[in-house]
């Protein structure tokens, strides 16, 4: 079988932006304002793909800045310094402090600019103390689209998946991309490339879109850039496991986040596990994003020690709450939903009425811990520059801002870093000469992409959908909530075998690239499996617990030995791990050992 590769176009631009959500639009618009020609290559539709347009949209900054921006209800005591300290301590000191400084200093301006467009579009923007603004997820998408629309010099290729980066020598100078509907291949030449394509979430249970396949991370790593912090995945407790149409809905989490009538959270023994959390630690989680980390720690202990529910979660039980109290809370939620979504039974766009019906029948909500975001990503400096010339990365695709746990807004991050990437890539592109197309490298990339599948086509037998399921199970078991040496090693062995023996033997039932589902799933799994191997190796090296990396066999937070970031590189198709000590120039970490995560939180926050 031969691929039909006859339809291809050569394109040229100053700045190529890969991605179509908030970080990508922010980068593209900024570069266009710098006078650059800009091409956005987006896997889906701009503002309707990626995770920002489906997330709880809370754009938070510091209270001082929010107050000076005219928000009189802002809590001025949350100063920039306090925000900086909170982010670094919550990141367990693995944050690159210059990136945190940039986030704190530039967040206000970026968020203000973004929300101004929301207001111009007459969308609801609701302030929430201490210093955050909530909009509906569809508003975030609409603003992303509108900001690009207002800059007609930004050209867009939608439904086009970037496959790999192109290089001349060690300089990145473009990418190869595929229009999924037409099967057309694009060879894009650019003076600089910005990867803003989101994160890597390899698990079977997610509350995010299907696009978080680490495409940008995979292509950057293959081109010779480095990744870091890959062992740190953000997990969200309180995500629907049931009913099936609401699986992955974060609506139950909102009940906790909004401090509403709090139900019991029961394990399979009928114990309310909230009562197992020490009161001062529970209190620390109130009105704070540390809630996620605290509950992750205690919920995981139940779920991973055979005290979970049938579907691998816990039960949110409202039976102990008076009906009137429940209804009061429901009315509060419904009012907010009506304000944001014009419908009191729609959260995001999900119909959440079946959950209310369950409470009416006296039945609990079955909720689990899903993956939400990836702290790991491409290694960058404060100019968003990667270790490869001509290549920049921002937003969830990058790493270093949040260290071992993301305590602040991923949306503010995408705006700040997208803008910075746009400025810095433009600065570089203005000075840079045009890099010629290296046809030898292009042939190499193409043969890596298509060649292996073709040469093995006679023996191809692997069903890509079965492989996809196997890879997510490998992630669940080795890179899951509570990790251990044995489980990580076993997953590492499996993923290496799959990458070597199974992925190249994926069977494709059509040789056309015109909406080839199997090939698209293959592309996702090619990146996910590479990132997963990198993450498992990073997790294996970190023989301690830190942030969301919980080791059953090493519960200590060990600042004496592990205050460094695991950096991933690829050579000869082998993954290597090295160490990087973060920039501690403002806040120097204590070199102590802590018994476990709650002990660390007690010492640092109480």
């Amino acid at each position: 079988m031969d691929f039909v590769l006859d339809k291809k176009s050569l394109l040229k631009t100053d700045i190529l932006v890969i991605g179509g959500s908030g970080a990508a639009s922010s980068a593209a618009v900024t570069a266009a304002r710098e006078g650059m020609s800009v091409l956005m290559v987006c896997k889906g539709k701009v503002g309707r793909s990626g995770n920002a347009p489906i997330s709880i949209s809370n754009f938070s900054i510091d209270g001082e800045t929010a107050y000076t921006l005219g928000e009189k209800r802002a809590d001025k005591s949350v100063t920039r310094d306090r925000l900086f300290e909170k982010i670094v301590k919550s990141g367990f000191y693995l944050n690159e402090q210059p990136l945190v400084h940039q986030f704190v200093e530039e967040g206000g301006e970026r968020v203000y600019e973004f929300l101004r467009i929301a207001k111009e579009l007459k969308k609801t923007v609701k302030f929430r103390p201490p210093a955050g603004w909530i909009v509906s997820n569809s508003t975030t998408g609409a603003v992303v689209r509108e900001s690009v629309r207002r800059n007609p010099s930004v050209e867009i290729l939608e439904d086009t998946v970037a496959l790999d980066l192109l290089k001349a020598g060690d300089r990145v100078n473009g990418a190869i991309a595929l229009n999924v509907f037409t099967g057309e291949l694009y060879i894009v030449r650019a003076k600089a490339v910005i990867v803003a394509s989101g994160g890597f979430q390899p698990y079977s249970f997610k509350c995010t879109s299907i696009d978080s396949s680490g495409d940008g991370l995979g292509m950057a790593l293959r081109a010779g850039a480095k990744l870091a912090d890959m062992e740190f995945q953000l997990f969200l407790p309180g995500v629907c496991l049931h009913p099936p149409q609401l699986k992955g809905s974060i609506y139950p989490f909102v009940w906790f986040a909004a401090n509403l009538a709090e139900p019991k959270v029961k394990n399979s023994l009928g114990e309310n596990i909230i009562e197992k959390i020490p009161p001062e630690i529970l209190e620390l989680g109130h009105n704070s994003r540390l809630w996620k980390l605290i509950h992750l720690f205690y919920w995981s202990d139940e779920i991973c020690n055979d005290r979970g529910s049938n579907l691998g979660g816990l039960l949110m039980d409202f039976s102990g709450i008076a009906w009137l109290q429940y209804m009061k809370s429901l009315v509060k939620v419904n009012m907010l939903l009506k304000l944001l979504y014009k419908n009191r039974w729609r959260f995001r766009s999900e119909n959440i009425r079946p959950l209310h019906e369950l409470v009416k029948q006296g039945k609990p909500w079955e909720v689990g811990i899903s993956s939400e975001y990836c702290m790991g990503g491409i290694l960058i400096n404060e100019s968003m520059k990667t270790t490869l010339e001509g290549l920049y990365a921002c937003g969830e695709a990058s790493s270093g801002l949040y260290g071992a746990f993301r305590v602040e807004s991923g949306l503010t991050e995408m705006l700040v870093q997208g803008h910075r990437a746009g400025v810095e890539a433009s600065r570089y592109a203005k000075e840079a000469s045009e890099a010629p197309l290296d046809s030898e490298y292009l042939s190499y990339v193409k043969s890596e992409l298509f060649g292996k599948l073709l040469s093995n086509s006679k023996n191809s037998s692997e069903n890509v959908y079965i492989l996809k399921e196997k890879i997510s199970k490998v992630a669940d078991s080795g890179l899951g909530l509570l990790r251990s040496e044995d489980a990580i090693n076993s997953s590492l062995k499996s993923i290496r075998e799959m990458r070597k023996d199974e992925l190249p033997l994926v069977a494709l039932h059509t040789n056309s690239l015109k909406y080839n589902s199997e090939f698209l799933v293959y592309l996702q799994q090619r990146n996910i499996s590479l990132c997963l191997e990198a993450a498992l190796m990073s997790a294996l090296h970190r023989k301690e617990s830190r942030g969301t990396h919980l080791r059953r066999d090493f519960p200590q937070v060990d600042n004496a030995n592990f205050l460094y970031r695991n950096v991933v590189s690829l050579s000869e198709n082998e993954i290597h791990i090295s160490r990087k000590v973060p920039d501690f120039s403002v806040l120097d970490p204590p070199r102590n050992k802590y018994k476990d995560i709650p002990h660390y939180l007690r010492k640092e926050f109480l």
Binding site: K43, G44, K45, R48, S49, P53, I54, N137, S138, G141, D159, V161, V180, F181, K206, C207, T208, S209, I210, D211, P243, P244, Q245, K247, G248, S249, R348, S349, E350, N351, N463, V464, Y465, I466, E469, A507, H509, T510, S512, K514, Y515, N516, S517, E518, L520, V521, Q524
Partner: protein, 105 residues
Amino acid sequence: MIVKVFRYDPETDEIPYYDNYEVRITGEAITVKALLEKIARDFDPSLTFLQHSTCNHSSCKRCSIRIDGKPVLACATVLGEEKRQVQIDPVNPEGVVRDLVVRNI
């Protein structure tokens, strides 16, 4: 459950046709999206349906599809074991790229 699915590859097929799959649904109802994935995994990986850039949470509306003629979202519509037969069609048969995938929705 007998699942009757619209098939059409404009590059090779003169006219559309239907394939029937007998899928066992036990106990728990499943979403249409999960049903299509089950068919691709257990019966026929050549079945083409949307595999890029869908949100899975009713927001993007890209997984629109017809169930027994009615347009619904594949990620938010459930089918229970009591359902004996179901017909799945693309949301707009004129715009078919392949099987259930329609351009630019």
